[in-house]
């Protein structure tokens, strides 16, 4: 078998193995609990041997018991999904300008936080980084779900006209932040790149010149930071920048696809590829270090509203394919793409409404990635929709404060 033949078979084999992703699996907690330990299973086998030797009838009784036990477990758990006080949200008040930390049942735990520009949940879900517009300029604070506290400002930029971006370190230890002047129309500016730890230590590691600069990831073990920027005023060409955490630039390439976001570990990127002639739009999952293609997700030509989220603590992706038409018609499909986008896609939920003028989709993933809130909103402070357990597909209709950010309330 020559090398070319081997590569062909390898490709076919990989394609074939992806079909394993069709196999449903139980939840991790059910695997960890309510099972006999290895010693118990060993004793079971020994007892079975004795039964075979001495009494076939007794053996069959034991066999039946074993079968019943295994059958129950093989059927798998089907625990209904429900609101859970171990998780929470940052939810807006009626004016939408103040955010309060609540648990999923709506009990207020901390806050309020005024004039929040944007939020970002940490990879493990315990923290939410919050940029607030303060009178003198933006301020960065961290909300800690385990202690239900909001930090003092960890970074303050004394310029109200500053634009700020943020991405979490893969180990939750801090954030990479960009600050620079607010520019319209793809203007180029010198942007400061900062590293800020959750304990409050901050240092500026670099200055980068570009338009629309924002951080994508901070792969802490690899010491690698990813940023994106526009390469042209129209944004048709983008830049993908890799920087070491000492500020040294190791890569600065023009790329034809728009980098959207990275997974929590900072090892995967998703980009948006537009092409001509349409329709050939797709999301491309890429290795964040090498920019090699990992998988591609085609976007249907009818889609005019879409979204993509990496599932926390996982390499799965959640994609919304939506179509909003005239007269308030709105159709959306929420699809899970397991295993870096390489697994068989699984529909989680769909929405089809007519007359929903002014509505838009709302998708919020629980901070540990176990469930997702999916529904329509008109910007009100209350969310009504489905809470869907991602592993089992179980769902419950819920009404909760509209989750601007989700957070885990345990360490």
């Amino acid at each position: 078998m020559d090398e070319r033949e081997a590569r062909v078979i390898e490709t076919e084999l990989r394609r074939s193995l992806v079909t394993l992703d069709q196999i449903p699996v139980p939840t991790l907690s059910s695997l960890r609990s309510a099972r006999p330990g290895p010693a118990a299973r060993g004793l079971r086998a020994v007892s079975a041997l004795a039964v075979v030797a001495f009494a076939v009838v007794v053996a069959l009784v034991i066999a039946d018991r074993l079968t019943a036990f295994r059958g129950e477990r093989a059927a798998g758990p089907s625990a209904p999904v429900a609101l859970d006080d171990r998780y929470g949200f940052l939810v807006p008040d009626a004016s939408a300008s103040r955010l309060t930390l609540t648990d999923e049942h709506g009990h207020a735990l901390a806050g309020p936080l005024d004039d929040v520009a944007f939020t970002r949940t940490s990879p493990n879900g315990r923290y939410v980084a919050v940029w607030q517009n303060a009178p003198l300029g933006p301020e960065l604070r961290i909300v800690d779900g385990a202690t239900r506290t909001v930090s003092a400002p960890l970074l303050s930029v004394q310029d109200p006209a500053t634009s700020a971006g943020l991405a979490w370190a893969s180990d939750d230890s801090g954030v990479v932040v960009t600050t620079g002047p607010q520019l319209a129309g793809g203007g180029v500016a010198r942007v400061n790149v900062w590293l800020v730890t959750i304990t409050g230590a901050s240092r500026q590691i670099a200055t980068y010149e570009g338009g629309g600069v924002r951080p994508l990831f901070w792969n802490r073990p690899g010491g690698l930071i990813g940023l994106t920027a526009t390469a042209t005023r129209t944004g048709n060409l983008m830049r993908y920048v890799q920087m070491r955490d000492d500020g040294t630039i190791v890569r600065d390439d023009n790329v034809s696809e728009q980098p959207i976001s990275a997974d929590g570990s900072g090892s995967l990127l998703v980009t948006n590829a537009n092409c001509s002639p349409a329709p050939c739009r797709k999301y491309v999952i890429r290795n964040a270090a090498t920019y090699d293609t990992v998988a591609e997700i085609p976007v249907p030509s009818t889609t005019n509203v879409s979204g993509l989220w990496f599932r926390p603590r996982s390499s799965d992706l959640l994609v919304l394919f939506g179509t909003q038409g005239t007269g308030g018609s709105i159709d959306g499909r929420l699809v899970l793409y397991p295993n870096k986008g390489r697994g068989a896609p699984r529909d989680l939920d769909s929405i089809s409404e007519r007359g929903a003028v002014g509505s838009s989709f709302w998708v919020s993933m629980r901070a540990d990635g176990s469930a997702v809130f999916f529904g329509l909103t008109q910007g009100e402070s209350v969310f009504q929709g489905d809470l869907i357990a991602i592993d089992t597909g179980g769902r419950t209709s819920v009404q909760v404060g509209r989750p601007v950010a989700t957070i885990s309330l345990s360490p």
């Binding site: 078998m1 033949e5 081997a6 078979i9 390898e10 084999l13 990989r14 074939s16 193995l17 992806v18 079909t19 394993l20 992703d21 069709q22 196999i23 449903p24 699996v25 139980p26 991790l28 695997l31 960890r32 099972r35 330990g37 290895p38 299973r41 060993g42 079971r44 086998a45 079975a48 041997l49 039964v51 075979v52 053996a59 069959l60 034991i62 066999a63 039946d64 074993l66 079968t67 295994r70 059958g71 477990r73 093989a74 059927a75 990879p123 493990n124 180990d171 939750d172 603590r313 996982s314 390499s315 397991p338 295993n339 540990d368 990635g369 592993d391």
Partner: protein
């Protein structure tokens, strides 16, 4: 690896490890038992700290648990089909299992490790306690076996 990283990796990868073990064992029940045992084994003091990649560690330990469980399954067979056959929802329809069924157990383990879990040959060698050349050789033999089978199928279809 610290415990928090371990938990994060396990949460993110257990499903893939479990499916890999199902592919090796061909049985949902055995794979779930093996992964459960591997998760228990990881709880022993000092184990997690020595793990570099949770999915590779869980898979290789799970494979060892599967091998040890094999003799128990053979004993169960004496008890008749009622105790040895369990519902395996969905497994029969999975194409990958048909491909893997033609391989030896060892080839199956390493092929799943290499092409489903994306372990390098170095990682396979490290986790399975074999040499890199041994790992490469086993996987190459598996590919050759799949090619021979594919050729045979094509030949039979051609005759038909």
């Amino acid at each position: 690896m610290d415990r928090e990283s371990w938990e994060a990796e396990v949460t993110g990868h257990y499903a893939q490890v479990l499916r890999g073990l199902m592919a090796v064992a061909g049985r949902r029940e055995a794979a779930e038992d093996a992964l459960h045992d591997a998760l228990l084994a990881a709880m022993s003091p000092g184990v997690i700290e020595g793990v570099e990649r949770a999915d590779a560690w869980l898979f290789s330990v799970g494979v060892r648990k599967l091998r040890r469980a094999a003799w128990r399954r053979r004993l169960d067979m004496f008890l008749g089909p009622s105790s040895a056959s369990f519902p395996e929802p969905g497994l029969a329809r999975v194409q990958a299992l048909e491909v893997l069924a033609q391989l030896t157990p060892r080839q199956r383990e390493l092929v799943v490790a290499r092409y489903y879990l994306d372990l390098s040959f170095n990682e396979i060698a490290h986790h399975f306690g074999i040499s890199v050349s041994g790992a490469t050789s086993t996987v190459t033999q598996a590919l050759a076996r799949i090619r021979r089978r594919d050729a045979l199928v094509e030949e039979q279809h051609g005759r038909a």
